[in-house]
Amino acid sequence: MTSLRFLVALLAVPVLGAGAAFHPSLRRYGALARAGAALALGTVALTLTALALTLAGIAWTLPALAAPPLAASLILGVAWSRVPAPAHRAFRPSTGVAAAAGTATGLSLLLLAWTFLAAEATSVDLLFFWGVKAARFAQARGIDTWLLGWPYFSHAVPEYPPAVPVVLAWAALAAGRMPWRLVPVTSLLWLAAALPLLVGLLRRRLTDDAAAAVGAFWVAALGASLAHSVSGGNAEAPLLFFESVAVAALLVEDDGEGRFLPALMLAAAALTKVEGSVAALLVVAGAAARDALAGRRRVLVRAAALLAPAVLAVAAWFFFQSRSGLEVGYRSHGGLLTLRTEFLPAILVSGLSALQAGTFGLSWAIPIVLLAAARPALGRLLPALALVLGLFAFLAFDYMHDTADPSERIGWTAPRVLQPALSACILAAGLASLGGAGRPGRLRDAEERPSPP
């Protein structure tokens, strides 16, 4: 029963953010895709509520945590549902493609579920800090600021943003305790939640067949990677969800289109991991560069608006730290410019081996080859390429701050941290090679294409 209650509480997070599903930009997508957006809004709203309740000295209860997100969702949902939106178009891939893509998708999810259930890919960080914080927060009925400030808790990276521990603590509150063996399995939910949204977004530039094929490849690649990088129960799967959807939304957007979905996703990413903030900066920079190259208007204003929710989310966490007497901000790995360039060869060698992704590198190689073969206009793919190249650069920069050979640390961190880069690479390659962002002039909304005779 504990596990069941925990699972039901996690599945209820989209209910907390249900308002997002009624946003006019999302009503063109199917129910599962809209539930994915609701999951993101639910995560952000729950996290901010958790911070506010703790600051106000109000003990967490399920109703206290749920009420503000539900109220906000209700108000937003009612307001947004009155705004006209594009009609939903049924997803109808051809039979052969549906069979192949469905087989790959189903098999990937099944194998990943098995891997997590069998405790074959549980991140030890779940036991060292992600789950530890959640269990203690649930017990304390609030963010345990005493614990976060305790010098003997420094191993648990207390400055990390709180979304994952808060969401797990919410479910643990409902369950009565942490079902430790189940928590890794919940990583699967984030991967599964991303897929309908990604396919829905891809369909704006690709045929249903093409979107199904890229979606199947994406889930197969990232499923294998999550298992290989032993990411069960840590923050990698939610981060992957948020960043992937943000990148896909920006890749397929029209000129001047509202950016509710990518802005929400980047805010959620920034509340999930420090790397989420880095990704938000990279993706926004990529989108701004793409817009500037395309001669679009109000590039800086739109970039600032896209980044603003992520900045506000991090600011809320830093404000909480400040008001709680905690050290404000994120710890660095050393002096900003104290770089050990002698580690570069080791970083290159270890970094390359981190690209195996559980498939001997095929997950990377196939999209890269298909991307190159498509000879795309790279400028159009900058929201994704900025994340891919930027994450590699950021990691190399970070590893050069180590005081000893970073090979071992690269071995267990790079396969995880590079997963959003792999995701962005697949999405960019899919759009480029299957017709969405190829040579100039080929970027057209699939809905605007004439129907086949």
Binding site: A104, T105, L112, L127, V132, Q139, M178, A216, L362, S451
Partner: protein
């Protein structure tokens, strides 16, 4: 409005689909060569198959839980310093209603902290750290002791 596709998928589309199916083989292949019965065994700890040492330490802590009352201060002692550190880290989450105190932290002794602990969980040690402590229970890979400490 749906846009039905006609005819065979183009070559690149087939490549994506074949790629997706090929990628599935990598997690599938190991399952086909290992005995099914072994794979269907439910894990006892969350890290049974990713970190055997942590799994054993987790089991030890879990078996100590019934003997540490809620709210009690306790410490974990192990001869092996890295084991002591990971035991301490895991104990904070596994005993959310109690108060773990480090015996060492990142291999640096924290004896002043540990001295405040009423319960001592000893992992794979042959002799108790405090000879005056009362044995509460012997558990897998260790024992739980209780000692007198100032409130």
């Amino acid at each position: 409005m749906s846009r039905p596709t006609s005819g065979a998928p183009p070559r690149r589309l087939r490549l994506w689909l074949i790629g997706a199916l090929v990628l599935c083989l990598f997690p599938l292949a190991p399952r086909l060569v290992r005995p099914l019965r072994e794979q269907l065994q439910l894990p006892v700890t969350p890290v049974d198959r990713t970190d055997g040492r942590r799994a054993r330490e987790w089991l030890f802590l879990d078996s100590c839980r019934p003997y540490v009352p809620p709210g009690a201060r306790f410490t974990v002692i192990a001869d092996e310093p890295h084991a002591e550190m990971s035991l301490f880290m895991m104990a904070i989450g596994l005993f959310p209603e109690s108060r773990p105190l480090p015996h060492s932290h990142f291999l640096v002794p924290a004896l002043v902290q540990a001295a405040r602990a009423k319960y001592v969980l000893e992992y794979r040690r042959s002799t108790p750290a405090d000879p005056g402590a009362r044995l509460v229970a012997r558990v897998a890979d260790g024992a739980v002791y209780e000692r007198s400490v100032p409130p």
